[in-house]
């Protein structure tokens, strides 16, 4: 049995007060908090081992390089991949752009189509719009059902031989919906399209094996999985990474630079121009070590438990509407909602006064917001360090908000 109270105590910020109340941090889908072990790993690295990687013939640089590459192996093992399939980027967004410039820009033409889901985060939309602008390819969107699930009929209907790329989130940061990525990838491959999966809300919350997803590329961010900001991961099938061009040019990604052109280093270094975020890689490794010590199955189970508790508690609040699946099954703990005619920003401010941190807005998914016909929603999102009392605080503050807005 995991001691969840002890886990919570590992996160220094969670003992902070907020506006006179205990902080109930319910915005982990935006960014996660960090356990002491991650902070210590970063400080220790800078205090004992800091040196630029892959560059020095001295012991310190060698140690730093080993730690950086060790972080890469840790990430690889964590998602069932090989080390040289792991590209460290600035974040999930950068990972998408690496594929946009390194593959799509050079492969797509006017005749080609990209198929995305309407629930994609801007990170899995805008890079393709930039590519479309440069190549003339077109983009289409798969819609969702009334229950917030991907409309698979629509997907199969829109999928044909002109589709060269399918982009889909493994889990939606707004609806919480978990998409059947393997089924999507299977169908896409049958028409010859490649698949890029947004795992930003999946890898932190469940055990992911990249080969089981069927996807060709997977993108996620360190800061949403207990790690530092400034680092993310692009995983790709080795044969695809191999034939991709680098997106960024600079040091460390070359074998040779001549006046009339350059040759590229082997994958993954080809995609890591310049000094990589090596201290952040060390922090991300510590985060993964932490998650693995708890166990991803246990993390997933606990989050389901909390999600169920939250959905049930919210169902008891009159006037509250949840967007997305109403049960904890096949969903993660990102729960978007609205309450009567109280605007989400008003809600966020009111909750904040009771120490409850939730997000309000379009959550970087405006096409989804438009299709739901709500310009903004409130969102509470959970992680392993949350506890029932955070949700109770949310529910209590929602009642107060209704009170405040009942005057008129």
């Amino acid at each position: 049995m995991t001691d969840w109270a002890a886990i919570r105590a590992d996160f220094p910020i969670l003992s902070r007060e907020m506006n006179g109340y205990p902080l109930a941090y319910l915005d982990s889908a935006a960014t996660s908090q960090k356990p002491q072990a991650v902070l210590d790993a970063i400080t220790d690295f800078y205090s004992t081992t800091n040196a630029n990687v892959h560059r020095g013939a001295y012991s310190l640089a060698d140690e730093a390089t080993r730690m950086y590459e060790d972080a890469r192996s840790t990430v690889a093992r964590f998602i069932g991949a090989q080390s040289d399939e792991i590209v460290f980027t600035r974040g999930a967004t950068s990972a998408f752009n690496t594929v946009a410039y390194g593959w799509a820009l050079r492969h797509l033409t006017e005749d080609d189509r990209i198929l995305l889901t309407i629930m994609e985060h801007h990170a899995n939309i805008v890079p393709w719009q930039l590519v479309a602008d440069l190549t003339g390819c077109s983009i289409e969107f798969v819609s969702i059902t009334d229950t917030g699930r991907l409309d698979l009929d629509d997907f199969h209907h829109l999928l044909d031989e002109d589709v060269k790329l399918v982009g889909a989130s493994m889990a939606s940061n707004v609806l919480g919906t978990i998409n059947p990525i393997a089924e999507i990838a299977d169908a896409a491959h049958q028409v010859g399209a490649l698949v890029i999966a947004d795992a930003a809300q999946a890898v932190p919350h469940m055990s992911v094996n990249v080969y089981d997803t069927g996807a060709d590329w997977i993108c996620f961010s360190g800061h949403k999985m207990l790690g530092p900001t400034g680092i993310g991961v692009l995983w790709g099938r080795p044969e695809i990474l191999d034939e991709m061009e680098p997106a960024e040019g600079g040091g460390e990604m070359i074998t040779d630079v001549r006046l009339d052109g350059s040759t590229w280093a082997a994958v993954p270094h080809k995609f890591e121009a310049g000094t990589p975020p090596f201290a952040q890689a060390v922090g991300l490794k510590a985060a993964i070590d932490y998650l693995e010590a708890v166990g991803m199955d246990e993390v997933e189970r606990r989050e389901q438990e909390l999600t169920e508790y939250a959905l049930k508690s919210m169902a008891g609040v009159e006037g509250l509407t949840v967007y997305g699946p109403a049960t904890a099954q096949d969903r993660v703990g990102a729960i978007s909602f609205s309450l009567n005619d109280i605007h989400p920003h008003d809600l966020a401010t009111i909750l904040d006064q009771r120490g409850v941190a939730i997000r309000a807005g379009h959550h970087c998914a405006r096409p989804l917001a438009r299709s739901l016909n709500v310009p903004a929603t409130a969102r509470a999102s959970l992680y392993l360090y949350n506890q029932e009392s955070d949700i109770d605080a949310l529910i209590g503050a929602l009642a107060e908000a209704k009170e405040l807005f009942s005057v008129a």
Partner: protein, 147 residues
Amino acid sequence: MSLEEMYREVILDHYRNPRNRDPLDHVDATAEGNNPLCGDEVTIEVGLDGDTVQAISVRGQGCSISQASASMMSKAVLGKTEKEIAEITDTFKKMMGVIETDDVVVDEERPGATLGDLEALQGVRKFPVRIKCADLAWTTLEEALNP
């Protein structure tokens, strides 16, 4: 900081029953404003008679503060000259702390005393994140009148 100070009855009233929402037939000046961080939007249309605002339409979507501020503003500026409006805007922005001031004209205790209903927005000042919401309509009106 009291939430009750921010969510006054008059604010919720303007939020739920916004004034001057009907589009104008004849538009002399117009501007759109939005707050990219939170998505608040306001569109303002103005009908002028000389330099007097003889008609105004304010439409938008967003939080109670942004929409109430827009509605109250539309009431406050209707029938006023551009010069008078500039003065009201200045007083409002000083009340909200958007413009720094040690101007003695502003009553320390009740810096919004000359603003009527709008004074109700004073409570927002204690919520720095929300000041931009209150200010949006005013900045948009300024843009409409001084394009």
